[in-house]
């Protein structure tokens, strides 16, 4: 009789969160906390499984960024085997990671954040949604849908499925890319670049009218962490870790992702299931850092592709040091999308992409390895330990949203202090608190993607913890 594994409770995978806002004796907001109330336990599920199953298992971690999990997992597998994947496999991995950045960022910007940005944070909630956008900005929404389709189609053509592709493997990927698939992908490039330039123009034209939000939805000093290539350029697949401070100074450079646990540590708090990552030398909570689009553009000196480089130069002029306004995650996201399409075009023009040799094979040669890459929301680490026959003994996944957790809490608190009026809770206040979180596009088990109706609970508490006002939108 087959053994049955029962997981209880069944976790809510749409992402559930709660915000507590603490009000002092003066009636003013004193602090706020962003709670993640779901638990998944993927690391435990991995234990006892053969390590070569991990890319397939890890593809199921996320419905939005499965490719990044497959890549980090496959790279950890490369390390356990002690092999370098063939060039065609590396090119495929790069290609799909860019495709995923494109489709994930498109979802965040066009579908989730654009109602706030284009219709207004104070527009009526019954209009501030996808229907409102369809009514007011049909061309804009169609462009967003097409960009997401492009990213998904690349993933489908190479990986077999748009979501949860079974495609990566220790030592490479499972199959070569066909010329027919490559040619179809190439057909989307021109239109995608055009759409991104339209979107960048629209967003930049709105920034002057959004100064209040830019300044108060998560504008604070912190460290920024991301991967850079040997030239110090923007990198998503393989490179070294760089950390800069809010002045733009390099705090640490050429850090080996394999040794992530020498510079990153995770703390826990009893009120949330997400851990709090911090830069180890500065301790907790002083070592708070941000990852993802804003961080990547802050740590990289250039993009390395012409159109994105032009945008990045302009982006960097928004601050003398690092760009610290979390609101600019949106702008950074669009620049990264443009860069991704440019890189996809380069990769499609590389004849080695169609190479037949896509997998290096070996038995396990090491008992421990780390795989890392840049996922849409930030740097991702998969750390595996196996026994002599390759059975997984331990897995540790350090995911971008956890690394942004301190920053998200600070952003929520800053937004609450600025916009919340105890006793007069309004939908507009709620939306601004949501917007502060949405800048980070958090992946609470890869979700909380909602326009206007994020499943949030906001509680106002006094210093003793007594709840005196509550809005439940779950």
């Amino acid at each position: 009789m087959a053994e049955r594994i029962v997981i209880h409770p069944v976790t809510r995978i749409e992402g559930h969160a709660k915000i507590s806002i603490y009000v002092g004796a003066s009636g003013e907001v004193e602090s706020a906390q962003f709670h993640v109330t779901e638990f998944r336990g993927f690391e435990k599920i991995c234990e006892g499984r053969p390590f070569h199953e991990m890319p397939g298992l890890m593809s199921r971690v996320c419905g939005i960024c499965p490719v990044s999990h497959v890549i980090a997992s496959s790279k950890a597998g490369d390390g356990l085997l002690g092999v370098d994947p063939p060039p065609a496999a590396i090119l495929q991995r790069r290609l799909l990671n860019y495709a995923q950045v494109l489709q994930s960022h498109a979802l965040s910007f066009f579908h989730l954040s654009s109602p706030d940005l284009l219709l207004g944070l104070d527009s009526p909630p019954e209009k501030r949604n996808i229907f409102g956008m369809v009514e007011r900005e049909p061309d804009f929404i169609r462009r967003g849908i097409r960009l997401r389709q492009f990213g998904q189609r690349v993933i489908e053509l190479a990986g077999g499925k748009r979501v949860h592709p079974v495609w990566g493997a220790p030592g490479g990927v499972l199959q070569p890319l066909t010329k027919v698939a490559r040619d179809e992908m190439a057909g989307w490039i021109t239109e995608s670049i055009d759409s991104l330039q339209v979107a960048l123009g629209r967003l930049k034209s709105l920034l002057d009218s959004l100064q209040e939000e830019i300044q108060h939805l998560g504008n604070f000093p912190s460290l920024f962490l991301g991967t850079v290539n040997p030239d110090g350029g923007l990198e998503f697949y393989d490179g070294a870790i760089r950390i800069v401070d809010s002045e733009g100074n390099i705090v640490a450079d050429r850090l080996d992702p394999q040794r992530y646990n020498t510079f990153i540590e995770e703390a826990s708090e009893e009120w949330t299931f997400i851990k709090f990552a911090y830069y180890k030398p500065l301790g907790y909570p002083g070592g708070k850092y941000r990852v993802g689009p804003l961080a990547r553009l802050n740590v990289a000196q250039h993009a390395g592709t012409p159109l994105a480089d032009r945008e990045m130069r302009e982006f960097k002029q928004r601050s003398r040091g690092a760009v610290c306004e979390s609101f600019h995650y949106h702008l950074a996201r669009l620049i990264e999308m443009l860069h991704s399409v440019e890189r996809i075009e380069e990769l499609l023009n590389d004849p080695e992409l169609l190479g037949e040799d896509v997998r290096a094979r070996a038995l396990p040669n090491r008992k421990e390895a780390v795989g890392s890459c840049e996922a849409p929301r930030g740097t991702l680490f998969h750390h595996y330990t196996v026994d002599h026959d390759g059975t997984m003994r331990k897995a540790n996944l350090v995911i971008a949203t956890g690394q942004n957790n301190q920053a998200m809490n600070m952003a929520v608190e800053q937004a609450a202090r600025r916009f919340v009026r105890p006793g007069q809770l309004t939908e507009g206040m709620l939306n601004r608190v949501e917007a502060a979180i949405r800048c980070y596009d958090p992946c609470l088990s890869c979700s909380t993607h909602a326009i206007g109706r994020m499943p949030l609970i906001i509680e106002l508490r006094d210093k003793s913890g007594h709840v005196f006002e509550r809005i439940d939108r779950s």
């Binding site: 049955r4 594994i5 029962v6 997981i7 069944v10 749409e14 199921r60 419905g63 939005i64 579908h111 989730l112 019954e126 949604n129 996808i130 229907f131 409102g132 369809v134 009514e135 049909p138 929404i141 169609r142 967003g144 849908i145 097409r146 997401r148 389709q149 998904q152 979501v163 979700s447 993607h449 909602a450 326009i451 206007g452 109706r453 994020m454 499943p455």
Partner: protein, 144 residues
């Protein structure tokens, strides 16, 4: 007739994957398989004149077909998951979709982590497929 079948659900969550199993039995129309409905599905509908959504439903006792009401009254939360009504409304407004849209609700009670569906869900596969096949044939032979 240009029909499109949209099968919704997760094959690894027991009865939640029942729509895909019904879709496996269908012939004569392209099948789009999704975990959940997202805005891109609206774009996929633009060439179709008949769209049939198949979805697991914990409240359904037996396979049933109903027309999708459009326009939707609310946009919903646009999470990862949209309703057929919202997708049809988007397809209509963004891509000029003017066809008929149907929803086939399928019995589903067990949503545990399993690739197997319950015997009750399995019992409806053939009748559900027949129901949809009949609709497709009717649409082929009858003027709209």
């Amino acid at each position: 007739m240009r029909a499109l079948i949209i099968a919704i659900g997760n094959r690894l969550r027991a009865d939640d994957g029942v729509a895909h199993r019904v879709a496996d039995l269908l012939t004569g129309a392209p099948i789009r398989r999704v975990h959940q409905l997202t805005p891109e599905v609206a774009a996929d509908m633009q060439e179709a004149d008949t769209v049939i959504f198949l979805d697991a439903d914990p409240a359904a006792d037996h396979p049933s077909l109903e027309r999708v009401q459009s326009p939707a009254q609310t946009a919903g939360s646009l999470s990862h998951s949209m309703t057929p009504e919202v997708v049809v409304t988007m397809a209509s407004r963004l891509y000029g979709f003017q066809g008929d849209a149907w929803l086939c609700r399928l019995y589903a009670r067990d949503f545990s982590a399993s690739p197997e569906i319950s015997p009750e869900a399995a019992a409806q596969l053939e009748p559900a497929a027949q129901l949809i096949q009949n609709l497709l044939e009717t649409r082929c032979t009858s003027p709209r």
